[in-house]
């Protein structure tokens, strides 16, 4: 029995390694190609290790100083929008979630149900009217247009409200007896204790905003307001179509922050995904 078990486990491990290679090799290929000069990026012979190792693609992409391809600006845009969006979501959602979980809001059950219901509303219905909304207020192609829409997503409210509901009442009650007002209780007692949930929401939201493609594509019209995600697509369809080395360098740079955050924030990301399943 033991021996057949060991054989089975060995087979499983081998399978899992093969599958892991399937998931990793395309990424390694991207990185490898990014270090190849353009004339070696596309070849009849596949070389995993570049014959000529070069940083030229990275240098070119970052510093080419073209108004059409302001990569550093794109990087800044992506970071700014993701950070601003995440902070906005955390602030707005935690306030709302706490109110819905603990406070005396009129009609809170009905409100909460409505918010959660909108999670089913498909994005397509919203993006055209939102485009017109921003267009008519002359805010298209601005950071406002890039950042604000994410604050309406009900996922964070749902997630945090469930978290706050399972909070033990004693701490808040103790603070209340000491004469603390709602705002003080929220800031000084609840928020510090909600750090795990807030971190989960933060990682989840950050990655989603950074990787968002359709809305930044629609909301921006000038090269200097684009995010990296859109920029990569634009370059792939445009100037870098034939320059695979440069395209891969750009892609690698665009992906690195997410891989880093994923690496460090992985348990939070997983918690967020798992939560959306348990609902």
């Amino acid at each position: 029995m033991k021996k057949s078990n060991r054989v089975a486990v060995t087979i499983l491990v081998i399978c899992s390694v093969v599958i892991a290679l399937v998931f990793l090799l395309p990424l390694l290929w991207m990185v490898s190609t990014s270090f190849k000069p353009d004339d070696q990026a596309v070849q009849a012979q596949i070389h995993w290790i570049p014959q000529t190792f070069t940083w030229a693609n990275y240098i070119y992409s970052l510093f080419q100083n073209s108004t059409d391809v302001p990569v550093i600006r794109w990087f800044f845009n992506s970071m700014f929008v993701s950070v601003a969006g995440t902070v906005l979501v955390l602030v707005v959602d935690s306030l709302a979630a706490y109110a819905l979980a603990r406070l005396n809001v009129p009609g809170k059950k009905w409100l909460f149900a409505t918010f959660v219901g909108t999670l089913m509303v498909p994005w397509i219905i919203i993006f055209i009217p939102m485009y017109l909304e921003f267009s008519s207020t002359n805010l298209l192609n601005s950071y406002a247009a890039l950042v604000l829409p994410y604050s309406a997503n009900a996922f964070g409210v749902f997630f945090l409200r469930q978290f706050f509901i399972s909070f033990p009442h004693e701490l808040e009650e103790a603070a209340q007896i000491d004469g603390a007002g709602k705002w003080t209780i929220f800031l000084r007692v609840v928020v510090p204790l909600a750090k795990p949930a807030l971190s989960t929401l933060a990682v989840f939201t950050f990655i989603q905003i950074y990787n968002d493609f359709m809305w930044p594509l629609v909301a921006t019209s000038s090269p200097d307001m684009r995010t990296l995600t859109v920029g990569v697509a634009v370059m792939q369809q445009g100037a870098y179509t034939a320059s695979y080395g440069k395209l891969m360098a750009l892609s690698t740079m665009a992906t690195l922050p997410m891989l880093a955050i994923f690496g460090f924030g992985q348990k939070y990301f997983i918690k967020g995904v798992t939560f959306s399943g348990i609902k």
Binding site: Q43, I125, F269, S276
Partner: protein
């Protein structure tokens, strides 16, 4: 006597102040909700209503006048003589094709990977889980760049290795069944980790005792899977089914960037048609109506899936009460 029948002044004052305090409390509580409520109205509620409004008007982005046309935009979608009919119908058919091809694979492979990771020795579990989940942290544009390259007919990675084992060059992105295979495989690689994580959580919730009891009764591995694992994850499977279906309906980036709708327009999905209609043809009214139709279709399918699954569940549990 009077003193007994009338409310003493102090108590009246107290009752009044309790009432105002409660009112103040409600207002103070509501203040917490206002930021989100504002965002919600501006970027969710209003756009939905506005979108429906736009869809009933002839609305070109360049015109200043947008006359009300009732359901004309909707009728045009199904009228073979209009220019919007073909992109709409073929877009819809293509999106439906993608949903049918991708969703079963997303569920089965998601579950398969979860079972695999679950069965690995403890040391290997976290790293396997991380690696399989990693692609979900990458944006669709980078995914498209990588896989466009791998699927390239002439010098792509895949054809290179296929050639080595004797299979001639496959035109992955430029001919028909292959383009769908390429799109589905790319999407699978990208997002299956998400489903895997959800299934892993569900598998982790199944009590060990059930399996132990089954072992004592002499159940083999397959029997355990069929009668314990599958029923226990029924609900989560429904969730994965609905969310995967919705995501597949929302497919946009991969066909836009990898196949560019080709060959011809055979992989141009509905979201791309809507995007083109709104931002190339500039006919926002018509695009809005396409969006509404797509949303309705998605809603109906989600409801059908929900109902079908729920029904099966009661049948199964009825059968098991014979124990």
């Amino acid at each position: 006597m009077e003193a007994l029948l009338s409310i003493p002044e102090e108590s009246e004052a107290i009752l009044l102040s309790v009432g105002t305090r409660r009112m103040k409390d409600k207002v103070a509580s509501f203040l917490f909700l206002i930021p989100y409520l504002a965002a919600f109205c501006l970027f969710m509620a209003f756009p939905v209503i506005y979108g429906l409004w736009i869809s009933t008007h002839k609305w070109n982005l360049l015109d200043t006048n947008h006359p009300f046309v009732g359901l004309k935009n909707y009728r045009d979608l199904f009228n073979p003589t209009t220019s919007v009919h073909d992109p709409f119908i073929s877009g819809l058919v293509n999106t439906l094709q993608f949903v049918v091809y991708s969703v079963p694979l997303l569920i089965i492979c998601g579950l398969g990977l979860a079972l695999l990771v679950n069965a690995l020795p403890r040391r290997w579990k976290p790293i396997a889980r991380t690696i399989y989940f990693l692609p979900t942290a990458i944006s669709v544009s980078v995914i498209s760049v990588i896989w466009l390259w791998i699927f390239d007919a002439n010098s792509g990675l895949l054809n290179y290795y296929l050639k080595m084992i004797g299979i001639p060059s496959i035109p992955w992105l430029t001919s028909l069944p292959q383009a769908w295979i390429a799109l589905v495989l790319t999407t699978l690689w990208w997002t299956v980790g998400f489903n895997m994580i959800i299934f892993l959580a569900a598998l982790g919730e199944i009590p060990e005792e059930l399996y132990e009891a089954a072992s004592i009764d002499g159940a083999g591995r397959w029997m355990k899977f069929r009668s314990i694992t599958l029923p226990q994850i029924k609900n989560i499977t429904l969730f994965v089914l609905i969310t995967s279906t919705i995501s597949s309906f929302n497919i946009f980036g991969q066909p836009l960037l990898m196949t560019r709708g080709g060959p011809g327009e055979s992989t141009q999905v509905l979201l791309v048609s809507i995007y083109n209609e709104a931002f190339h043809s500039l006919d926002v009214g018509s695009a809005a109506s396409m969006a509404v139709v797509l949303a309705l279709i998605m809603l109906v399918i989600s409801v059908i899936q929900f109902l079908l699954f729920k029904e099966k569940k009661t049948r199964v549990s009825k059968g098991e009460t014979t124990l």
